[in-house]
Amino acid sequence: MDSPFSINREIQMQQKIQFYTSKLKSKPEIILSIIFVAVFAFLIVVPFVQMIYTTLTYQSYDLRLERGAEEGAFTLFHYKRMFNSDLTQSLFLKPFLNSIKVGVSVTLIAMVVGSLLAWLFVRTDIPYRKFFQTIIVVPYMIPSWVIALAWQLFFQNTRTGGHAGVITSLFGLNIPDWLSYGFIPIVICLALHYYSYTFLLMSGALRTIDSELEEAGAIEGMTRSQILRKITFPLVLPALGSSFVLTVTRSMGTFGTPALLGLPVRFFTIPTQIYAMINARNMGDGFVLALVLIILAATFISINNKIIGVRKSFVTMKGKGFRSSPMKLGKLRPFLIAALVILIVCLIVFPIVMLALSTFMLLPDDYSFSNFTTHFWTGESDATISSGEPGVFKNKGIIGGIFNSIKLGVIAAVVNAFLGLLIGYTVVKNRGTKLSQLIEGIAFAPYVFPSIAFSAIYLSMFSRSVGPIPALYGTFSLMVLIVIVKNLPFSSRSGISAMLQVDKSLEETASIQGIPFVKRFRFIILPLCKSGFLSGMILTFITAMRELSLVILLVTPSTRLLTTMIFAYETQEQEQHSNAVTLILLMIIIIANVLIRVFVNRKSENTMNLG
């Protein structure tokens, strides 16, 4: 690409088509917009429309409630049931309010925790920063139900039978139900899981702020809190907005933790209702509630856009010199380090150790030494244990599963990170236009699309060839495709917030000099957005590796993933096996995370030098 020959050829090519494209060429965002709209229409809007269609017609489940109805005929049956019947209160209203309560509470806590941590690691002289930064996102890699299990282990009371939790058994305290189950524990467990969004996005944003800006404020005589409010806060607002949108919609849409901690006290949320309905193959009702989630998410996005859109977006990434001086923590330092260590022990060490320990115990909850076994890792098949399932390392499927999961994660991470930036570029360059809002909105839709519905629709869409696309059903490509689409919201959010900080003039300068878009992207935008790009990639990798509902209908024995194996073990309630595979998955994610950081850091240093 750098050879003069290829540049010459490109210039020739350009001259040929310059006449037709001179206007468009200087605005690649227009071409990109058109491509995105077309592709999204097919990959996102079509399934969405099909979902709406399902809610407006009788499904085979409904014929059982309304005899004489005809399958496929138009009806408002589902909307009446959900919003205007004696079931409204219990099927929709209460779970809806619970979801909002959970979503907002989780988000507030997660944003405070995530922002504080980001500030601590980016802007202060806290020691071992690299180490802390890497380990502090681990709770996001641990499935959220593992934290919920750890909660149960400590705070469970006698309501659910079996052995009570540590606190009750050791101190004889009977813990009230509200602390054992329901709203409070759900919010705490989810907040401790989802703070990573804010942390990652805020670290990215804070890192790109030139601390001279803040110092300038200090010279002008502003107090610390004034600097924070008047300078720092407005600068990180886009990142905060993205964190808010991601966290609130995700925590409202999450299923595992509310199912585990909510059920014993009947604390239902929209996702637990959707799950119950789809489980009964009652798609019509389930999709109506899914649409409720989508509308809620759309509302949050538009609120976010209103708040951030009315202000001028602040550009911090300029071509000029850049420095950042860490704030001295002084006396607070030991306390903060201690708090961090406690947080890490509670959130990371303890759940992982518990998970690991459980895989070495023949009988659960029996901590005696004689109960210790390595059977679930290395044992040959023994019919009396776990219905004859051999240890995970003796399991042939596992090697294939590891390989497939990594392949899926890597492809999705790379593709999504690039797509995210391109979407970010398109949206930001077109900012203020309807087109920009449209792309931003549609790219976000898959986030709240119930995975199981999404995959069912993809299954039927891609079972035959559609135009140039061959029949993808049963192939690995289809799993990759659906994971990429489902992760677009992450990547587009981080792409948008990264692009918002890039000074337009940098690229415009290059553009005036006739440097083609691909090069501008490669040598100007990409290096400037490195941290946003990186966090987008890590987020996608983690989610792709952990994806289950989305792929379970699409897997074949040769495309089996670690998560589908965990699912199989879980349904058979072979908890040691499922925990062992979870642990393997976790280790891969953590190792990969560290590798990506190291690799990309070194790579991008080279790029910077080249640029």
């Binding site: 309501r159 659910t160 009964a280 193959r281 299954l459």
Partner: protein, 415 residues
């Protein structure tokens, strides 16, 4: 947002042909659709299933080389591994999907014109009967080698692979004998917050359990009379005694748990002071006593019934690509046709002589499952099965009334 909606409407109008062309919903017709008819004729299945020639089946099965199973259970895989030892030419590919996804995958694939599955085996009586059998998505196949050894209700209209049960369990450390004799006792103050149940909305088998109790409203009403000596007075808006029992149970602070294992643990774990009563799968009650050292006792006799039997069916999928391998594996999963009730089956069940007799039943033999074969020696976990008075799930009631029971459950538990 307005623009977005407008845009969606445009797409809605432009795309319908592309979107909905694939979802052509075939209505059940007399006889089979043409391609299915050709397949059935060729494979000698369904209405063409006469005089099974097992030498021919085995020969063809070996040529087919593999069999694809969609199942609600992972144990099929271990049965498949044993099967492949006998027939190394035939590879068993089993998909462990759980009941709901087994239906979803089968139906979605077939609607899209894909016929990948050979054998479907799952519970969920209503869906199985009305969404698969009635709509010609499967054909019932009973191997002639086993047919006489299976009672009518276990093979007609659908072959049953195993029967399992939802039962009532208590902690034998806390109680010398079963603490209740009548299901209505669970609705009294004494058991407020002291009954746990596996979430009926989490899988089809649990819903079948409570729905079948609701179905037997007359028996429930009589049982109430026996219990209190008085006539049952229904709560407001509750239609009958079956629903009334469920209503009172739910409003007696019934504790809902996520998993069958959790339920067995709740009532069965040792060292508790006042363990709850558990309503859940017999599989966990029985096998966890042995595997996890729990002390669950299964209660019987109870008024008016001791539990609910729910079958796991097994059939050959429409236009199965490997119909003969499917037939052969179906026969294998049922067990050795020469099994007699006096045979001694010893642990380990999945090895040596035992697995030769049990064959595909081996992985289920120690998991609270009952074979449909009349002469299959009774497994220790289900030794009292024949003494227990249990109701069996009715596919028709599940199909037409299941949704009402589910609505009732969702409404009452959320209040």
């Amino acid at each position: 947002m307005k623009k977005t909606i407008l845009f969606l409407l445009v797409v809605f109008m432009l795309f319908p042909a592309a979107v909905f062309a694939g979802g052509s919903k075939e209505k059940p017709k007399e006889g089979y659709p043409p391609e299915m008819d050709a397949w059935a004729k060729d494979a000698k299945l369904g209405i063409y299933d006469k005089d099974q020639d097992w030498d021919e089946i085995i020969e063809k099965a070996k040529q087919e080389g593999s069999v694809v199973v969609y199942a609600s259970s992972s144990r099929i895989a271990s049965a498949g591994a044993e099967f492949s030892k006998i027939y190394p030419e035939i590879k068993v590919e089993s998909f462990d999907l759980g009941s709901v996804k087994t239906f979803e995958k089968t139906i979605q694939e077939q609607d899209a014109g894909l016929y990948n599955a050979d054998i479907i085996t799952t519970g969920g009586s209503g869906n199985y009967y009305f969404e698969l059998l009635e709509k010609n998505r499967i054909v019932n196949f009973v191997p002639s080698t086993h047919a006489d050894n299976i009672s009518r209700e276990n093979k007609d209209p659908l072959l049953v692979r195993i029967n399992e049960a939802i039962v009532f369990m208590y902690n034998m450390e806390n109680h010398e004998s079963q603490p209740i004799n009548n299901l209505w006792e669970l609705t009294t103050e004494k058991y407020r917050g002291k009954v746990v149940i596996k979430n009926p909305l989490a899988s089809l088998s649990n819903l079948m359990g409570i729905a079948t109790i609701v179905q037997h409203a007359d028996e429930m009403e009589k049982a109430y009379k026996k219990f209190s000596g008085e006539k049952l007075v229904l709560s407001e808006g509750v239609p009958d005694a079956g629903y009334e029992w469920l209503y009172r149970l739910i409003h007696n602070d019934l504790v809902i748990l996520k998993s069958g294992g959790g339920v067995a643990k709740a009532s069965g774990q040792k060292g508790q002071k006042n363990a709850p009563i558990a309503i859940g799968p017999l599989a966990y009650g029985a096998s966890y006593n042995r595997n996890k050292d729990y002390v669950n006792g299964i209660m019987f006799p109870l008024e008016p019934a001791d539990g609910v039997i729910y079958p796991t069916y097994m059939s050959i999928a429409r236009q199965a690509p490997h119909p003969n391998a499917a037939k052969l594996f179906t026969a294998y999963l049922l067990g050795n046709p020469d099994v007699t009730s006096d045979m001694k089956i010893e642990e380990p069940y999945t090895e040596g002589e035992s697995v030769k007799i049990l064959q595909g039943m081996a992985p289920y033999y120690f998991a609270g499952a009952m074979s449909p074969l009349k002469t299959m020696p009774v497994a220790p976990d289900v030794k009292d099965w024949d003494k227990m008075n249990m109701w069996t799930v009715d596919p028709e009631f599940m199909w037409y009334d299941g949704p009402k029971v589910q609505d009732f459950w969702m409404k009452e538990t959320a209040e």
